[in-house]
């Protein structure tokens, strides 16, 4: 079982596991919008993104398993680990109280993920065809976020205020993404293409629409090191409730 500390995993597996868990938790947060979205068009857009992130999660869990050669499956990783063993980025697990939260998380996560896959495409042959396809799909997620952030920031004063509040909460957590990039040595691979790094594109947009960027903390306890909030536990217990209620079940 992968219940050991992240640093007992080979680095390449820790890398994929963090991305897998993040994609999975993002899927769950998106699923909570089902029946709650602002319009039918958004119901469809959100579930589209959720289907994509779920498919990345499945692929990345399998990659993790291949790298450590353990008798796990993507399902056992999802349904048998407790919340303490999840390695997702912390901002992904925070509840999305409003649509502003949704589009900002989506902006940050999607553009970051796109960069990670770009890096992988270069760095890791096995990833090539998966990454190539995913990068194209994710562009749709990024565009969706961009469009809505623009609409909300420019549309009305109240919407601008709401998206600014949502940004104040989520932005400091992006510190984790730069720490992750450093730790997993991703920065180098992207240096040649710095101008298209997720961070540049995101900050360009946010500034352009007149939002103020909060400062980043110096130190940050990372979700990928297992530091989570109380929200993750509740989400994981709902995630696993049916699975745990029927031991030995076949689905």
């Amino acid at each position: 079982m992968l219940e050991d500390k992240k640093n007992q995993l080979p680095k390449s597996a820790a890398f994929t596991l963090t991305l897998a868990d993040s994609c999975f938790i993002q899927t769950q947060r998106l699923c909570q919008w089902c029946g709650q979205a602002p319009s039918l068009e958004e119901e469809m857009a959100i579930s589209n993104i959720a289907l994509d992130t779920l498919s990345y999660a499945r692929y990345l869990y399998q990659e993790t398993i291949n790298r450590v050669e353990l008798p796990e499956t993507p399902d056992t990783l999802v349904f048998k680990r407790d919340a303490r063993q999840y390695r997702n980025f912390r901002f992904i697990e925070l509840p999305q109280y409003s649509f502003a939260d949704l589009v900002l998380r989506n902006l940050i996560f999607s553009s970051f993920l796109q960069n990670m896959f770009q890096r992988n495409k270069i760095a890791d042959e096995k990833f090539y065809s998966f990454s190539e396809k995913a990068i194209v799909e994710i562009q749709y997620h990024v565009d969706h976020a961009h469009n809505w952030i623009r609409r909300l920031s420019v549309g009305t004063a109240i919407a601008k205020q709401r998206i600014q509040s949502a940004l104040d909460i989520v932005w400091p957590h992006t510190r984790e993404l730069s720490l992750f990039s450093e730790e997993f040595d991703v920065t180098d691979h992207l240096q040649s293409q710095t101008r298209c790094s997720w961070h540049h594109r995101a900050t360009d947009l946010l500034r352009e629409v007149g939002l103020a960027l909060p400062s980043l903390p110096d130190r940050y306890r990372c979700g990928y090191d297992g530091y989570h909030t109380e929200h993750l536990g509740r989400l994981i217990s709902e995630t696993q409730s049916v699975y745990r209620e029927f031991p030995g079940g076949i689905w």
Binding site: C34, L40, E41, F99, I158, E238, T239, V242, F246, W251
Partner: protein
């Protein structure tokens, strides 16, 4: 010969009516009512399934369920746009739903209480829906008929997935899973029978609708087809249909079955079912909580000068 007579004759000979054609007011109104009820049913029908998205017990089942619920949103969207070809406004239709003025399929006022219900809804509820919808692929209003063709294709897929999920759990799963499935069938059987509407003897509007080709087969005919199909499939899965009187009649070539409790049906249709309040509350909450979002989108489009009347999503 009046315009009405010409229209009736055209339709009677299998003619397709298009949005640009002249049509009787009553035909238009009946269609708007039927199509929007159908759209509402897709939207409300997402909710009992959405209840299990987070706790779907495998990644594959989660993926199938997200895709299914997404299809339903798509069907709703498609059907609202059919209603719009008839001059209805989506916002008015949604408001009527939230205010309790519009109807939707009674079956979605029952709760989905266990994971097995996801399979059962696919097998029984989608199964019942398809029987109705397949006939509507031949309906006289062109945009509706074309919508139905696409929708039926996806619904059949959902029904097979529901059947397959139950079959697999029942055949390979644990006793606890089998009990869960049987309990689920016990709860959904009668509501599924009710989906075809009241017995023909009590059904209003039917005659005119059939004449217009808006309705093709009677409630009782469809219900009998449903029972015949499901009775056979239930034996493949291994579950028991909760009707002790159910049996094959070689003379009529049909299964004999017990009618559901029609009093309960009228209660549910009247807004007093187990989940009516919950369903509308959910949709109202989604609308109200996101009003600021849609408002900002609308204002933004207006500022950009590319705002068309109506929904910002259309801009």
């Amino acid at each position: 010969q009046s315009k009405e007579d010409v229209f009736d004759a055209y339709v009677a000979h299998g003619g397709r009516v298009e949005a640009s054609h002249w049509m009787p007011d009553a035909y238009r109104k009946t269609l708007i009512r039927q199509v929007s009820q159908h759209a509402h049913s897709e939207i409300v029908g997402m909710l009992p399934e959405a209840n299990w998205l987070i706790s779907a017990p495998s990644l594959e089942r989660k993926q199938i369920l997200i895709a299914k619920v997404q299809d339903e949103a798509g069907h709703g969207l498609y059907l609202y746009s059919v209603a719009e070809t008839l001059g209805a406004k989506r916002k008015d239709l949604t408001d009527a739903l939230i205010d309790g003025r519009a109807k939707y399929s009674s079956v979605f006022n029952y709760p989905s209480l266990t994971w097995a219900d996801v399979g059962t809804i696919g097998w029984l509820v989608d199964g019942a829906a398809i029987l109705n919808q397949v006939t509507l692929c031949e309906t006289s209003y062109g945009p509706y008929a074309r919508a139905m063709i696409r929708i039926c294709r996806e619904e059949s897929f959902h029904q097979r997935q529901g059947f397959e999920a139950l079959y697999r759990m029942f055949a390979e799963g644990t006793d606890a899973q089998r009990s869960m499935i049987q309990d689920s069938i016990n709860r959904w059987w009668a509501p599924s029978l009710m989906m075809f509407g009241p017995p023909d003897t009590d059904s209003n509007n039917s005659a005119q609708s059939m004449k217009w080709g808006i309705k093709i087969k009677t409630n009782d005919t469809l219900r009998q087809e449903f029972v015949n199909t499901i009775a056979k499939q239930s034996r493949i899965i291994g579950v028991t249909i909760p009707d002790p009187s159910l049996k094959w009649c070689p003379v009529s070539g049909n299964y004999v079955f017990t009618q559901p409790d029609w009093e309960e049906f009228y209660e549910v249709i009247g807004g007093r079912g187990m989940c009516n309040q919950d369903r509308l509350e959910n949709i109202r909450r989604a609308r109200d909580d996101n009003e600021w979002v849609m408002d900002a989108a609308e204002k933004y489009e207006a500022q950009q000068g590319n705002y068309a009347a109506g929904d910002p999503n259309h801009a």
